[in-house]
Symmetry: C2
C-alpha cells in the first residue's frame, strides 16, 4: 500500500462545498501534505494570497488543474491562456500543470485535425513551460470524453505526443481514465521517467453519468493498488491525487467526512 | 457513399415496437435486403419459423446477435449456450455470430483473469463454429462498458485474440465503439480479411447514458463515411448493420418512420 504521506487532495473532490482557503485549512487539519487545486478556485482566491496561504500551511502542490483546451477556442487564445496557467503553476510551486486537451471543435468530425491542433498548441507553449520550470502533464481522458473533452484518449497516444514534443512534457495518469486499456501495463513501463502525476478514484460498476459519477477508492472495479504498484515500478514516487467527480454522492457530503473516508480508503486501497 | 443494397436492419434499432416477424415484414416493405436479428427475438418467434419467414421474404442475415458473455455465468454454461447460438446462426444462414464477451465477473477486479476466461470460452466453442460454418465475430465494445459488458475494449486486442485463436474468428466493428481510437486506422488495415461485420450509428456529443443514448447516422460526431471507406479498403464488401440503442429518441418513434430516416441517412452519411 502507498504511504499516506503521498496523499494529495484534488480540490474537485470537495468543490461544491469548500473554496480554496477552506481546502487548504482542511488539508492542514487532516494532516494531508499535498493539494491539487483548480484554476477557477485559484482565481477566486488570488494567486499571491493562495501561494502565501499554502506556504504558511506547509502544503505542497502536486499539480495545477488545468491547462489545455486547444480546440474549444482560437489557438491564439488557448496559447495565451496556457501561458498564464504556466505562470500560475510556477507561482504556487506546482510540480506540474495538468493538461486536458479538449474534444472535437464544435461541428467538426475530424479527429486527426483536432489532434494536430493540440500538438500545435502544446509545441507553442512548451518553451514557456520549460523556462518556468513547470512540466506539462498530458492527461489522457477516458474515450467516452473524446467528443467533448479530450481527443487524447490513450496512454500510448500521450506518450507518442511526448516523443514528438521533447523534454518538459510527461503524463498525468488517472486510473479512472486508463484502467480498461489492454495496453496499459506495457505503456506504463514505456512511461518510465515521464510520469508527472498519478490520480485515483474508482469506476462504479453501475455508472450513471459520463462525467460526474466517479467512485471513492474501493467502491468500484479498478485494481488501484496494482496500478499504483506498476506506476511506482516505472519510477514514480510522487504525490497521489484523489480526484472524485460525484454529483450523487461525495459532492453532497460534509467535506470533513469525505477527507476522513478518503484517508482510510487511501491506506486500504491505494 | 455505400450502396443501399448493403444496408442491414439490426433489430435492436426497433426493438421496443417490433417483434421479429414485424421486422422481417418491415424490411421487405422498405426494400431492405439484410437483417441482423437478436437471439431473444429469434427464440420468441421460433428458429425454424423464422428461417422459413426470412427465406420467403428474400432476406439475408448479416449476423446473429449475440454469443459470448463468458464471464457472467459458469464457463460450462456459457460454452453450452454459445454452441446453441452457433446452431441458431447456422439455421438462419447468418454470415456470422456476433460475440460480446462480457465484463468483469461480479465482485472481481482482475481484468487479466476475465480476459483469459473469454479466450478459454472462445477456444472451446471455435471447433463447433468451424464445423457449422459460422464464423465468430468478436465485437470490441467501447471502453466505458469494460466493467459490465466487455473486457474486450479495443480493435487491437480483438485482433490479438484472433491471432491467438486461428481460423474461424474475426471482427465485428461498430463505429460507435471504436471511432475514438487513435490506433484505429492501423488496426483496420491489420484486420484485412478478418472483418466479418460492420455496424453503424453515431456518437451524440451530449451523450446522457452509457448504453441507450446512441444517435442516428449524421446526428453525432463520427466520420462514418471515412471509417466505412477504411473498412472497404481493408477488403470488406459485406452488409452494413444499423444498430441504434436510443431510449430517448428512436425507440420511441414509429418503426416505419425510423426505417425511412435510416435509409436516407445511410445514403447520405455512410
Amino acid at each position: 500500500m502507498a504511504e499516506l504521506a503521498r496523499l494529495s487532495l484534488n480540490t474537485a473532490t470537495v468543490r461544491l462545498r469548500w473554496d480554496l482557503p477552506a481546502c487548504i485549512e482542511g488539508c492542514a487539519r487532516h494532516g494531508i501534505g499535498w493539494i491539487g487545486p483548480w484554476r477557477d478556485a485559484l482565481a477566486d482566491y488570488g494567486v499571491a494570497r493562495a501561494a502565501r496561504h499554502l506556504r504558511d500551511a506547509g502544503l505542497s502542490v502536486s499539480g495545477l488543474c488545468r491547462g489545455g483546451w486547444w480546440t474549444a477556442r482560437t489557438l491564439a487564445e488557448a496559447i495565451d491562456d496556457n501561458r498564464r496557467a504556466i505562470d500560475e503553476a510556477a507561482a504556487i510551486g506546482a510540480r506540474c500543470l495538468v493538461i486536458v486537451n479538449g474534444g472535437l471543435p464544435e461541428g467538426s468530425r475530424d479527429l486527426a485535425a483536432a489532434r494536430a491542433l493540440c500538438l500545435e498548441g502544446l509545441a507553442a507553449v512548451l518553451p514557456h513551460a520549460r523556462a518556468a520550470g513547470v512540466p506539462l502533464a498530458l492527461e489522457p481522458l477516458h474515450p467516452m470524453t473524446c467528443a467533448d473533452r479530450s481527443v487524447l484518449a490513450t496512454t500510448a497516444q500521450a506518450l507518442d505526443w511526448c516523443d514528438a514534443l521533447g523534454p518538459g512534457i510527461g503524463l498525468a495518469l488517472d486510473v479512472y481514465h486508463v484502467w480498461w486499456d489492454p495496453a496499459l501495463p506495457a505503456e506504463i513501463a514505456r512511461a518510465r521517467g515521464r510520469i508527472l502525476g498519478f490520480h485515483v478514484c474508482d469506476w462504479l460498476r453501475e455508472t450513471r453519468d459520463l462525467l460526474t459519477d466517479r467512485g471513492m477508492m474501493g467502491d468500484g472495479v479498478i485494481d488501484i493498488a496494482a496500478l499504483r504498484a506498476a506506476v511506482d515500478a516505472a519510477g514514480y514516487a510522487g504525490p497521489i491525487e484523489v480526484e472524485i467527480f460525484s454529483s450523487r454522492d461525495w459532492w453532497t457530503r460534509d467535506p470533513d467526512e469525505v477527507l476522513d473516508v478518503m484517508k482510510q480508503r487511501f491506506e486500504r486501497c491505494v
